[in-house]
């Protein structure tokens, strides 16, 4: 029965270029029959045209002309898979260092990272960088596919060597769950079905691990939050405040505080799509009716205790994607946090993370793809939680005022592992 309700798991593939991320996703989709016949035919035809064998599985997700010509992934491809109980949204991310910003795009909404490592080369700098970014972004569980086992004679020793590297790093980065699986994405071993080439391995296949992992986004938040997106005028003159709930649910009758104005009031009613509800659960795009008259608008936030901070100056962890370095020379930047945008100034850069050792080095600027720590000062007050407490009220982006390009991903506070 195809209509049973399903839960939703968002995952991102991460790891270095050429370790086989796209091939693994291609294999997984082909072996679980998620591809239509014509899509498979098209992949076969494109492979043949380029003289690279019967079926280049990476072409399942590498859909751009330039990607197929160069044999690398440039930007995230989103693919979808369903099993009887679960819908998967798969972000197949690029491994190349030049496209780290696109990897961060894919990983920022992921519940889980599928890490692909070439058994012969082990963890590379880019694997470190990706794991570090995934951990910063709040991905809590990882599945590690130790790939190309067919080229290592299915050696348990070779597999174990990579597992040891991963376990050390995973512990330092604070992932709560790690599963390592010996696979050949090319041949399909331990991807959708268990392989007879690895009799020494009795763990799950990649598919089983994905089905068993916990769905739903990571929430450690205390307190309900609704950043106001839009004010809806109600017939008869009232107003309701529309936005998406994060942290915890709101209920009719809850005492809430409107921030940054710091006005206490009560939730009189909750609506969704014009219909009334008693509860607004996390993730619902609801609108709230407040008991007292306020002049709340877009950019304000409705919250329950414990309340977030109202501040114009805070410490942040920053993944810098700009082409020119981030420094304190007065670059014109804008910050977008929840539904609010404000001019921002970099007051101090307090360090840069060494990707290999995970230590913080002194720095006064951040180069492209650096991850660093900075003190930011905003023109308007923001209502923030630490990122590790709320993924919505703790995250922001930096925007170049001139080009409007998004140049950084930012997280309020320091990552757990720092």
């Amino acid at each position: 029965m195809e209509l049973a309700t399903k839960d939703l798991l968002r995952l991102a593939t991460i790891g270095s270029v050429d370790d086989g991320k796209s091939t693994l996703i291609g294999r997984l989709l082909v072996d679980t029959r998620q591809l239509f016949d014509d899509q498979l035919d098209a992949v076969a035809a494109a492979s043949e045209k380029r003289g690279i064998g019967d079926l280049d599985l990476s072409f399942v997700t590498d859909g751009l002309r330039a990607e197929r010509e160069q044999g690398i992934t440039i930007d995230v491809a989103y693919r979808y898979a369903t099993t009887p109980t679960r819908k998967f949204i798969i972000a197949d991310c690029p491994g190349h260092v030049r496209y780290t910003r696109n990897m961060a795009t894919g990983a920022s909404t992921a519940d889980l990272a599928l890490v692909v490592v070439d058994v012969a080369s082990g963890l590379k700098e880019q694997t470190h960088r990706h794991l570090c970014i995934a951990a910063l972004l709040g991905v809590r569980s990882i599945i590690v596919a130790v790939n190309k086992m067919d080229t290592a004679a299915w050696s348990e020793l070779a597999f174990q060597r990579v597992v040891d590297q991963i376990e050390t790093l995973s512990g330092e980065l604070g992932f709560s769950s790690t599963v390592a699986i010996p696979v050949s994405a090319l041949l399909g071993d331990n991807v959708a079905t268990s392989s007879t080439n690895t009799p020494w391995y009795d763990g799950p296949s990649v598919l089983e691990a994905l089905e068993q992992s916990e769905a739903g986004s990571w929430e450690t938040a205390q307190g309900a939050r609704l950043p106001i997106q839009w004010v809806l005028r109600q017939p008869g003159g009232g107003r309701t405040y529309a936005g998406m709930v994060s942290g915890e649910a709101f209920h009719v009758g809850d005492r809430v505080t409107l921030l940054p104005a710091n006005i206490e009031t009560t939730i009189r009613a909750i609506n969704f799509g014009g219909e009334s509800r008693l509860e607004a659960t996390v993730g619902l795009a609801a609108d709230l009716d407040l008991a007292d008259e306020t002049d709340a608008g877009r950019g304000d936030l409705i919250a329950t205790e414990p309340l977030p901070r109202v501040t114009k100056e805070f410490e942040a962890t920053i993944c810098w994607f700009g082409e020119k370095p981030l420094s304190m020379n007065g670059q014109r930047l804008r910050l977008k946090h929840t539904t609010k945008s404000t001019p921002v100034r970099v007051q101090a850069i307090t360090g840069v993370i060494d990707i290999e050792s995970l230590t913080i080095d002194k720095a006064d600027s951040l180069a492209t793809n650096d991850i660093g720590l900075a003190t930011l000062q905003t023109a308007d007050a923001l209502v923030v939680d630490d990122y590790r407490e709320d993924r919505v009220t703790g995250s922001f982006v930096l925007i170049d005022e001139v080009t409007n390009a998004t140049v950084a991903a930012g997280m309020v506070g320091h990552a757990l592992f720092l």
């Binding site: 029965m1 195809e2 209509l3 309700t5 399903k6 839960d7 939703l8 239509f36 016949d37 014509d38 899509q39 098209a42 494109a46 045209k49 997700t61 859909g63 751009l64 002309r65 330039a66 440039i74 930007d75 995230v76 491809a77 989103y78 693919r79 979808y80 369903t82 819908k87 949204i89 910003r101 696109n102 795009t105 920022s108 909404t109 997106q229 839009w230 809806l232 529309a242 936005g243 998406m244 969704f272 799509g273 014009g274 659960t281 993730g283 619902l284 795009a285 877009r298 994607f321 977008k336 946090h337 539904t339 919505v392 995250s395 982006v397 925007i399 409007n404 390009a405 998004t406 991903a409």
Partner: protein
């Protein structure tokens, strides 16, 4: 196989997709000056319009609806367009490919020729003339490998072009629609929906659709591996045999390049069961416009297509 419709308002994947879409609609309207919703009369744009009405209820839609009219429509789709726009109490703008042809901006492919690619010019003209800086579309990432690569908010330069190598990072749900004058964004609230999700949602919300989505008898000819409906825009050649078949349409595009599928699915439940076990993709089964080359969709998107 029998199917029952899901109960509304359980916390399942449809709820997650629905709230996400509402959030995107509100963000774009709040951040952009002059948004517009692109409406073809197909099921995806019908779902989009339904979601837009929900996002701003009980207010009226804070943007108009734009139909790029190729002049090669199915009558049932035009009737549905007018019904749906009236039900949503929305303002409809129709931009006609015929006008673009009459103005001499593109060559006339003739009465039976494909106008698919010409739509892009009409679309870009309508965006420029009305100074729209954001256009909502019902495109889904599962439709095509180029669409699979596109951001939810897709930046377009002053020529309407998509540059897949220079997409803005799109982190969390911090959608960033800021553009300079002349530039615009396309916003795709249904990005993460699959064909099956769309049908399940239509069933759950008991939505109205053009009747051609449901099985009906029709005169068809087989051409390029597709069943085309014989009518004003498809004239059988002497070599083609016209037969009457029980068919339905899986997608709705121009009458001369949208194929029907043989199907007896006359109810939403039957369609869901059919879609769930389909082994050909919806565009592969029914769209002549995607069959030109390996990167047909990428090429059209680079030119400014939907």
């Amino acid at each position: 196989m029998t199917t029952t419709l899901p109960t509304p308002h359980a916390t399942d994947h449809l709820d997650v997709l629905e709230s996400h879409a509402l959030f995107i609609l509100r963000e774009v309207v709040a951040e952009c000056e002059r948004p517009v919703l692109l409406f073809s009369g197909g099921k995806d744009s019908a779902v989009l319009l339904h979601l837009a009405a929900k996002a701003f209820a009980p207010q009226q839609l804070p943007f108009p609806v734009l139909h790029i009219d190729t002049g090669q429509n199915f009558d049932e789709v035009l009737q549905f367009r007018d019904r749906a726009v009236e039900a949503a109490n929305a303002k409809l703008i129709v931009a006609r490919v015929q006008d673009t042809i009459d103005q001499g901006k593109v060559a006339d492919p003739g009465h039976l020729g494909s106008r698919n690619r010409l739509q892009t010019v009409t679309l870009l003209d309508a965006i420029t003339e009305n100074r729209f800086d954001a256009a909502f579309g019902g495109a889904r990432r599962d439709e095509d490998k180029a669409r699979a690569k596109e951001r939810i908010l897709s930046f377009r330069d002053a020529f309407g072009q998509w540059d897949p190598r220079q997409q803005r990072p799109e982190l969390w749900q911090l959608y960033q629609g800021k553009v300079n004058p002349g530039e615009s964004v396309r916003a795709f609230p249904l990005s993460d929906w699959t064909e099956l999700d769309v049908w399940q949602y239509i069933g759950r919300e008991k939505m109205d659709l053009p009747s051609i989505y449901y099985a009906h008898e029709r005169d068809v000819v087989q051409r390029d591996g597709m069943w085309l409906a014989v009518g004003e825009f498809v004239e059988p050649t002497p070599k083609e045999t016209v037969t009457r078949k029980l068919v339905r349409f899986r997608t709705v595009g121009d009458a001369n390049c949208t194929g029907a599928v043989l199907s007896s699915a006359a109810t939403i439940e039957a369609i869901i069961d059919e879609v769930a076990v389909a082994n050909v993709s919806e565009r592969g089964a029914t769209r002549g416009d995607d069959k030109f080359s390996e990167t047909a969709m990428e090429d059209r998107k680079r030119e400014g297509y939907f």
